[in-house]
């Protein structure tokens, strides 16, 4: 996994609550058996006016000029500013892969749906939870300015914006560490292999019916 330490980038303000994973990457793109190729269909039904399909050339499609991602001010963005309950709905990790492949490294929102939040950490995408008032303020600036540049520092858990006080955010220490180091999730659990084996022996004795069909 790609580590996340310090990232400087431009913010795209996506001013909608309850952005669900069906919107982040629509279902027709889930047919792929690969982990890549989802970036160009990020927010497909919102970015384009025609219906997207696997293999359709994005350059030949009709662009939805109304959608914030197509606003000339928000090109080359890598930080997404969102509203409450971001990433709700389906568990599809493809949503995180699509965001990353599109170039988004960090999502800032007042709250996230649980599965999406989890999936972010497995892939090196940093979800940052910030209080509603500050989010409101950031939307104001991001919509006004030509392009809002933010420096995200995971080590110090802060966002730096020019001519503003630093904004600090909370993150569970146990989630921060693996992300900073880019640790392999499975490898981390394998360090507990003996414990798993011992548990399994006890569990099998206590509830043999679970293992009856092995």
């Amino acid at each position: 996994m790609k580590p996340f330490k310090l990232h400087r980038g431009t913010v795209v303000p996506l001013d909608r609550a309850n952005v669900d994973t069906d919107q982040i990457i629509p279902k027709q793109f889930l047919k792929s058996v690969k982990r890549t190729g989802f970036g160009e269909n990020l927010f497909d039904a919102w970015r384009f006016n025609d219906e997207g399909e696997i293999g359709k050339n994005p350059n030949e499609r009709e662009i939805n000029r109304e959608f914030v991602f197509n606003d000339p001010r928000y090109q080359d963005v890598s930080i997404l500013l969102g509203r409450q309950n971001f990433g709700c709905g389906s568990s599809r990790e493809h949503a995180v892969w699509a965001l990353l492949e599109f170039g988004i490294r960090c999502v800032i929102a007042p709250s996230f749906a649980d599965i999406f939040y989890n999936n972010c950490f497995k892939n090196g995408l940093l979800p940052i939870v910030i209080k509603e008032e500050i989010i409101e303020n950031l939307f104001g600036i991001a919509k006004d300015q030509l392009a809002l540049e933010v420096e995200v520092n995971l080590e110090t858990q802060s966002l730096s914006i020019e001519a503003m006080d630093d904004i600090f955010f909370e993150i569970e220490p146990g989630r921060k560490e693996p992300l900073l180091l880019g640790l392999d999730d499975i490898g981390m659990t394998f360090m507990h292999s003996d414990q798993i084996r011992e548990f399994e022996v006890r569990h099998r004795q206590a509830m043999p019916w679970i293992f009856d069909h092995d």
Partner: protein, 469 residues
Amino acid sequence: MNKTLYDKVWDAHVVGQRSDGTILYIDQHLLHEVTSPQAFEGLRAAGRSPWRLGANLATPDHNVPTQNRAAGIQGIDDPIAREQVMTLDRNCNDFGIRQFDITDRRQGIVHVIGPEQGATLPGTTVVCGDSHTSTHGAFAALALGIGTSEVEHVLATQCLVQVKSQNMRVEVKGGLQQGVYAKDVVLAIIRMLGTGGATGHAIEYTGSAVQSLSMEGRMTVCNMSIEAGARAGLVAFDDVTLGYLKGRPFAPSGDLLEKAEQYWRGLISDPDAEFDRSIELDADKLNPQVSWGTNPELVVDIDDVVPAPDIFDDPAKEETATRALKYMGLEPGTPITELRLDRVFIGSCTNSRIEDLRVAADVVRGRKVSSDLKSAIVVPGSGLVKAEAEQEGLDQIFSDAGFDWRDPGCSMCLAMNADRLYPEERAASTSNRNFEGRQGHLGRTHLVSPATAAASAIAGHLADPREFM
């Protein structure tokens, strides 16, 4: 003793701690073709193999067609979907994982076949790369939807790293009136909680109205827990649970069952258990529910009207409602029962079990689907549900009325196969999500119970099932 049911199942599976959460042992892992390929690819790349093969059960469901199934995989027209189903076949063969493949009569929606086979057992941990895994919580199990990286993690380590959720109790008091079902209960709950209202919580559903539900009904309720943002939904073990499990292929029998039952009887929250949050709902007063918007909290009673956005105090919700009205092509003030439909879908892991089909067939019996509809389809949740329904003659009732009787799969719930809505078409659907485009590009979904869907198919517009009883 002051543990909730969730605490008990959690505690019984704690292997150890990692810096970012608790390592939980996973008893049962269900797999399907959409969220597993990249996990298997990851295993191969790392030279790893599954920790405990017997814990896994796979079936293709999301992408399978609901017609022309005799042709097996070759019957899948879409080459990309075919590739995905073939990939599941190959992965299951290579790694030795038990699969009900596309030609197996036990194939079906993963959340239907787990319980049907008795693979979902009380007090166990169940995971699947699918958010509606919460369904299995109806068996007093801790059932969690996971992402693809976690699918790989569970395959490799038989464990999942989790942060413990808070406990929430949703008590449904009283009893359901005629024409009102488990689906209406859960829609009403989401309407109360909001789509993010239960984030970070595991919900235990209690109360007389939940206890009197069948296992099918309890599964419907638990299924949609995720639509309120909950991490899991659970119902305590009782005789109904036991009665359902007896005799199922993967469930214990004989002495083992007796031993299991002793343990299962303890799968209830202790009387003095504390919940971080509790809410109540009165079942007696509940009417059939219908969603009108583009998320599952935008719900009204069937005899109500399309609401105006300014009923919401929160500006974000008002904005969501405004957008939803536009997307759904609705005018505030229009009676719900005046909304004309293009299609009706009865199916999905929420409502495709035998009981759902019986209820719908009762409404349909001797009547005809409105000629205004372009299609009305019934998609059983599994091959075994289909066979049972046919044995009872339900397929005939549906066909006589003008419904299409299909083969099992997710179908129009997410429209990855050919069953879908076309732009601006309006549907009554027994599925669980009404997100923009969920059932087809620019399609408009109204979530309802099987009875309401059946009544609406007859009427040609959203209709109150009580008028058809």
